[in-house]
């Protein structure tokens, strides 16, 4: 057999093997980010979703071709969570609310609630079930249905911090006499998004830091990233 034929065979085999090799990639995206505040504390809620696609490099090429025409990849898994940053005059505590898309909390009687069955109340560290009496009172409350509002049940709101026409959005808050700046910043190409809290003494605390570029990962990493929460 001629060496040329062998070489061509090897090249064809290599190409075939390459396109049939498994490929996995993930993308993470911020969905909605909202800051709510009263006169002594603020809370940032930032929804994140991770979409995953798994197949072969040949399938990936098909997805890229579809993307060329504007079609999104046919993801086979997705995960969603909400990053909650609790801002007080002394600092920031970050908490992850797992396995949930972004939710609109409702201010009521000076507190924040996830109204549902059962309803949950923000206690500064996480959401805890409400009492029966609170549940009854919640049903009869006046709801805030606009995204931005001021002093509704003691709370104000600013929505879509990372989805403004401006790349950088600053919300200046006075929490119990301490000046705090909530800075939402995204790069012009929308790949990088951050939400940072800046205190008057120059201290910066990052609540959200996302890189939305798609990335190829190994099979193990894919399983680890996309495993059910």
């Amino acid at each position: 057999m001629k060496p040329t034929v062998i070489l061509i065979g090897i090249v064809i085999f290599a190409i075939a093997a390459a396109i049939l090799m498994p490929a996995h990639y993930v993308e993470e995206h911020e969905t909605i980010t909202q800051v709510l505040w009263n006169d002594h504390e603020a809370v940032v809620f930032s929804g994140v979703r991770r979409d995953g696609w798994s197949g072969t490099y040949a399938g990936l090429a098909v997805e890229m071709l579809r993307g060329f025409f504007g079609a999104i990849p046919r993801y086979d898994r997705n995960m969603q969570w909400v990053v909650v940053g609790h801002i007080t005059p002394t600092g920031v505590r970050t908490h992850i609310q797992h396995a949930t898309p972004f939710f609109h909390v409702q201010p009521f009687e000076g507190a924040l609630f996830r109204v549902g069955d059962p309803s949950l109340k923000w206690d500064g560290d996480g959401f805890v079930p409400v009492t029966a009496a609170e549940q009854d009172r919640l049903q009869g409350r006046t709801r805030a249905s606009t995204p931005d509002y001021s002093n509704v049940e003691g709370w104000s709101s600013k929505m879509n911090l990372l989805n403004n026409e401006q790349l950088r959005s600053e919300t200046s808050l006075n929490l119990g006499g301490v000046q705090v700046l909530v800075i939402a910043d995204r790069s012009a190409d929308r790949i990088r998004k951050t939400v940072t809290v800046q205190f008057g003494d120059g201290k910066n605390v990052e609540i959200v830091k996302l890189n939305e570029a798609p990335r190829l990962v190994s099979a193990n990493e894919y399983e680890s990233l996309m495993k059910a929460q």
Binding site: G67, P73, H104
Partner: protein, 607 residues
Amino acid sequence: MSGGADAHLPRERIVRPVTLSGEVLSLIPSPGIPLMGDTFGGLLAGVEPAPNTCRATYGEVEQCYNALARFAGPSGSATWRYDSPGALDRPAQGPDGTIYFIEHVGLGKSVVILNGATGAVTARVPLANFVTQQTGCQNTYNENEPSTAGPIVGGDGFGYLAVSNRVRQINYSTCSSYTEVMDVGMSVLRLSSAGQVSVTVIDQRHCTTECDEPKPKQLLPDGMDGLIAIAEYRYAPLFNAEWKMTRIDAEGAQSNTAVAEGLRIELIGPGGTAYLNSKQVLDLQTGLPIWSLPSDWNWVAAANNGDGFAERNGEVARFGPAGQLGDARQLNLINPSQAFGGWAGIQGVGNTTTGGLTAYAMPFDYGTRWDETYRQWGFGVEERRGYGDQSFRNLPQLVFHTNYNAIEIETSFSADQIFDAYVRTFAGVDAGPYASVTIEGNTVSAVGQRVTFTMKSPFIRFFQDPFQVEAVRYVPSQRTLAVTTINPVHPIFGWRYWRVFPSANGITIETGAYDRPASGLMFYSGYFVRKEDQTGIWREYMRHILNDIPGAVLRSPLQLMEGVWDVDSNPASAAIAPNATRQNILTQVCGVAPTNIPVFELTRSCQ
């Protein structure tokens, strides 16, 4: 022409889109003689350097214009102008918008290829000149333009041109005797939008006695994915002319039929039916005549079943497959054209105008594929009244579709609260994997406000810039918002509405769209590749609302949330989505149903 613009009137400088009832929607100044509607819903005009500059040396009318201009069309569409350094002939346009035309500069002739959306030149294809060279006692060298027919656009979307060639070499051995050698022929060039050329030779001869190159008279599609070229041939002795019709089928096979001198195909119907200026109807597959039109009638249109429509002194009639006279109506229209599903034309008799542009409803299964009908214009002068490729009337990219998603939920939330929290903010779109939405002030609160969609995937963003829609109807009391796309960046052309209303089992949130791909091959292809995404983005939107409203219980079929397409032609979907009809969607977009949907599609005016 879409919208009823009276572009076929000679020397007219104002275009008037009109409705079926005759209402003139606007007066659009034209930069030149309006020539044709273009692929993108606009108009093309030829700008004359001075009146009556045209010549008709070879059968094709040539050198009429010194510029080509695009104007009118949907809001947001680009206007452009191409100024020639010489003169140019009438254009032909492909389904992707590519424009082909002949340009004459100096002694040369070339095909210029333009991007019809921008007017940018994508290629120039120079044509070989005729050459005559004398040597010996007399020593001269002359070049002049080759004769051509076309360009046209074939069924495959490529441009085609029939062109002759001639190289004549005369050697004077003495000053009174010479020998002559000639190479003559005719070819059909296939032209891509990028200017790539492939050649099909129809005739090529090497002569040592007198001979002449074929003169192409007509080039047109055969209605069966092939081409027809009609040409005049002269063989020695040269005073005998022979006319031949060459059919090049879809596989490239050629067949020749001798035809009468002066033959011209005026209409091509479906399946290769040709309607001739001799009044005969010809089957192009067999070359055999089928039937003949009485000599005092003139062709105006072909029907899909092989029937033909003709006019005589303002009367329009249908002729059956054996030539029998069917329906006939005296419409008193000069040169009636098929429009609005019937006939439109200037009222009058002969060449005497008695009224304005008038339309008559007379529905029929319009089947004309190609129209080169002529009319008498003064003594012995004919002027084109049909204009080539009729497929623009039925371009798939101009076909509008409907799609619709909805959920009915049982909830303690009011319809107003849902409208404020989710419709005015597009919050559910952000929660999904498709796009991020940017709204000034975070909520829609007035007509004219724009909403920007940015695809979430960075890879898609590389190809698709953020695109916008503009609120055209905002009625908080009816909890209804409607938008239209801002083109040309938006990949879709059309309208969408959202509405929230109390219904039998709770509150219904619905969105419906009436749209088509935006102009351009990428958007056209993408529309169908992305079809799942177009309802998917609103499925995720509905899912977000369902999940985000505390205690909401879904009461409608899942299929409604998934989305349905084109329910007007899909009774099964119409049964579960009665609000998804075109009529209802357009009623929600406009507040009342538009009275004339074709005009609405063209002008975006709900009136």
